[in-house]
């Protein structure tokens, strides 16, 4: 596994608090036994609604439909992003679409850890910084947003903001150990020892 210390690229602004995983990936697309092709259905219902309005001359298309943001690798969000269902289908689809880092005010814990497992850092910035970055990118979608886990900063268009990321997640990205299974399998005797000391495992 490779270390993740920097994600740099064009960004996609996704405004709104508490965007839940049902909206990111509606349940009907979970009717499959693989994650293949999920990216085609990202925000499908929201997109259909926003795009229909845009076609009627009312507002902009959904950012995930807007050609201006095609190829973005950084997702910009507000607060409590990815709340609700634990479905990894949501971060899987974002990853398959090309997202390699998420920058926002805050994240649901399950979404955050699912993203870690895919090597996608979710880094926190202030509400003001999130708003400023989104405005910058909306004005000029070609803006390069640079997320650095070594410097713990996000920079774009001559501005720079501090980012927050729990120390454990940061260490996992910087050392390339974001896929935990290998580490978890390393000390089977220690696992067996803990299991053997639990009364409910040994039958009381």
């Amino acid at each position: 596994m490779s270390a993740v210390d920097r994600v740099s690229g064009r960004a996609l602004p996704m405004r709104g608090d508490s965007i839940d995983t049902d909206r990111i990936m509606p349940a009907r697309f979970l009717r499959a036994i693989t994650f293949t092709g999920l990216e085609a259905h990202l925000f499908e219902d929201d997109r259909r609604e926003a795009d229909a309005r845009a076609n009627a001359g009312n507002g902009k298309p959904h950012p995930f439909s807007d050609p201006a943001y095609a190829g973005a690798t950084v997702l910009l969000v507000n607060a409590n992003f990815g709340c609700g269902s634990s479905r990894e289908h949501a971060p899987q689809a974002l990853h398959r679409w090309g997202i390699r880092a998420v920058v926002g005010e805050s994240f649901s814990e399950i979404f955050f850890s699912n993203s870690v497992a895919l090597g996608v850092p979710c880094v926190a910035v202030s509400r003001d910084a999130a708003g400023a970055l989104m405005t910058l990118v909306e004005k000029d979608p070609a803006t390069i947003v640079d997320v650095s886990l070594s410097d713990m900063r996000v920079s774009a268009g001559g501005t720079s903001h501090p980012i927050a990321l729990p120390a454990s997640a940061r260490a996992s990205f910087l050392t390339g150990h974001w896929d935990a299974t290998g580490l978890l399998l390393r000390e089977p005797e220690a696992i067996a020892r803990v299991a053997g000391a639990l009364p409910y495992v040994t039958g009381f």
Binding site: A27, N80, R87, A195, P199
Partner: protein, 475 residues
């Protein structure tokens, strides 16, 4: 100094500290279902790993099962595929499974407790965010994603960051017609949908202590709606009595020893908490959500807020919610017409929920335009309800009585809203599109309130329809 249950369980399950500072935590029970596991099994196969502890793993099928015609193969080809994938994986890796022919199938968070698999002091993980339900037994239980399902399958452990504990005490008593669902909706309304991020919620106080296990499950179930990945109640006599004689509970002397250990895992009296919150149970009223997240709720006799009533940072989401819901700011929530009434889900589809709802519908009939659906949480609930004649009461009142599963809680089968229908629902999520129609609308409430809404054809205060005696939480 005393310890909380969380600290005790964490310590007992800690394998080691990982290089990044996280804890490697042993998982005592891994529950598996058909939607979030097939990819995990594939990852396992691709890496040539075995399932480490099939004996500590248990599977069932709930999300995609049809609730009408359950004959195999299912008419729905995708559902059949998912079902057979789970059956194959369980067979290949020796994992016990409660399938449709077992008499034990049901929503994973209903059958775990029902079978006695869920026990105090355990760590429990499942690829489902409502795993927090099992915390009602004094377990530390949380939802995980598919990559973490793979981790638990392979190692029976997880890499976890420690959680803080917020103690939420509900004092006093609940009024008539006020249920566990109203308590948790009120908690989420007060603390917000992200108030619990980083915390486990410990629910305590006289109201919670008097609650049945079913009611405690309703509360713990929706911890995640408040942002808390886990929620728990300290195990007590109510818990132990519930577990006695269940298929997977210890028996005889072992049960006595188990009770001692279980009791020892409860938070100490002098434990310290990262935060403490107190609510007065007497002020809680039957509660209804009006928006698109579970924190957007009002008491049934209140009015829907308008964007000017709320703090600036909530205005945009409130405006978005009202637009989507087609509800007018300042209007009373009572009287909102409903098209569908859904009694089901891991929050509120246990026998006691069905009994309460049945009390309301007895001798009455569902309003002419309303489609009413009762979906028991498990086959065991269904059979018990049928033995009591509840199925007949519901059918006579004009409800459909279905087979067990998640059904219209997330609409992965054919039970779903059409167009802009409004659904009075006993489930846990009112997200846009949650019940299967992208424009469908959900009003969350207690099962008794859903029953009342079905009869009236609109949101109505269940207290005006409730016969004596009192609701269980009041007893």
């Amino acid at each position: 100094m005393g310890e909380t249950l969380l600290e005790k369980v964490w310590r007992a399950h800690t394998v080691r500290t990982l290089p990044n500072g996280q804890t490697q935590l042993f998982i005592g029970l891994h529950l598996v279902h058909e939607v979030t596991s097939p990819q995990a099994f594939d990852m396992l196969r691709a890496r040539g790993w075995r399932v480490s502890r099939p004996d500590r793993t248990f599977a069932t099928v709930d999300h995609i099962v049809p609730t009408k015609d359950q004959r195999r193969p299912f008419l729905d080809v995708m559902a059949e595929d998912m079902m057979s994938a789970l059956e194959r994986n369980c067979r290949d890796y020796g994992i016990p499974m409660a399938d449709l022919s077992s008499g034990r199938q049901g929503i994973v968070h209903v059958i775990g407790p029902e079978l006695g698999l869920t026990q105090p002091g355990m760590t429990i993980a499942c690829g489902d965010s409502h795993t927090s339900t099992h915390g009602a037994f004094g377990a530390i239980a949380f939802g995980i994603g598919t990559s973490q399902v793979r981790d638990v399958l392979a190692s029976q452990t997880l890499a976890m960051s420690p959680l803080k504990v917020r103690r939420i005490s509900v004092e006093g008593t609940l009024g008539r017609g006020v249920y566990a669902k109203d308590v948790i909706l009120e908690i989420i309304r007060r603390l917000g949908v992200q108030g619990g991020v980083g915390y486990a919620y410990e629910y305590a106080g006289p109201v919670v202590e008097r609650m049945t296990q079913d009611e405690r499950m309703t509360i713990c179930n929706m911890s995640i709606e408040g942002g808390a990945r886990a929620g728990y109640v300290n195990p007590d006599e109510t818990t132990f009595r519930y577990l006695e004689g269940r298929p997977f509970s210890p028996r005889g002397d072992a049960f006595e020893r188990a009770v001692q250990w279980w009791a020892s895992m409860a938070s100490d009296r002098n434990a310290t908490y990262d935060d403490e919150v107190t609510l007065d149970g007497a002020t809680i009223r039957p509660t209804v959500t009006f928006g698109i997240n579970p924190g957007q709720s009002v008491a049934v006799d209140e009015r829907i807020p308008s964007p000017t009533d709320v703090p600036p940072q909530e205005r945009t989401s409130l405006a978005e919610a009202l637009e989507f819901m087609g509800l007018a700011p300042g209007a009373p929530i009572a009287g909102t017409p409903v098209d569908v009434a859904f009694i089901g889900s891991c929050t509120n589809a246990r026998l006691s929920d069905l009994r309460e709802a049945a009390r309301i519908v007895t001798g009455r009939h569902v309003a002419p335009r309303v489609r009413g659906l009762v979906v028991p949480g498990s086959q065991a609930v269904s059979h018990a309800a049928e033995r009591e004649g509840l199925d007949r009461l519901f059918r006579d009142a004009g409800f459909e009585w279905r087979g067990a599963g998640c059904s219209m809680c997330l609409a992965m089968n054919t039970d779903r809203l059409e167009g802009r229908e409004i659904c009075a629902s006993s489930s846990n999520r009112n997200f846009k599109g949650r019940q299967g129609s992208p424009t469908g609308r959900t009003l969350l409430m207690s099962p008794a309130m859903v029953a009342a809404a079905a009869i009236a054809g609109e949101v109505v205060d269940v207290r005006t329809m409730i016969p004596a005696p009192e609701s269980p939480a009041v007893r």
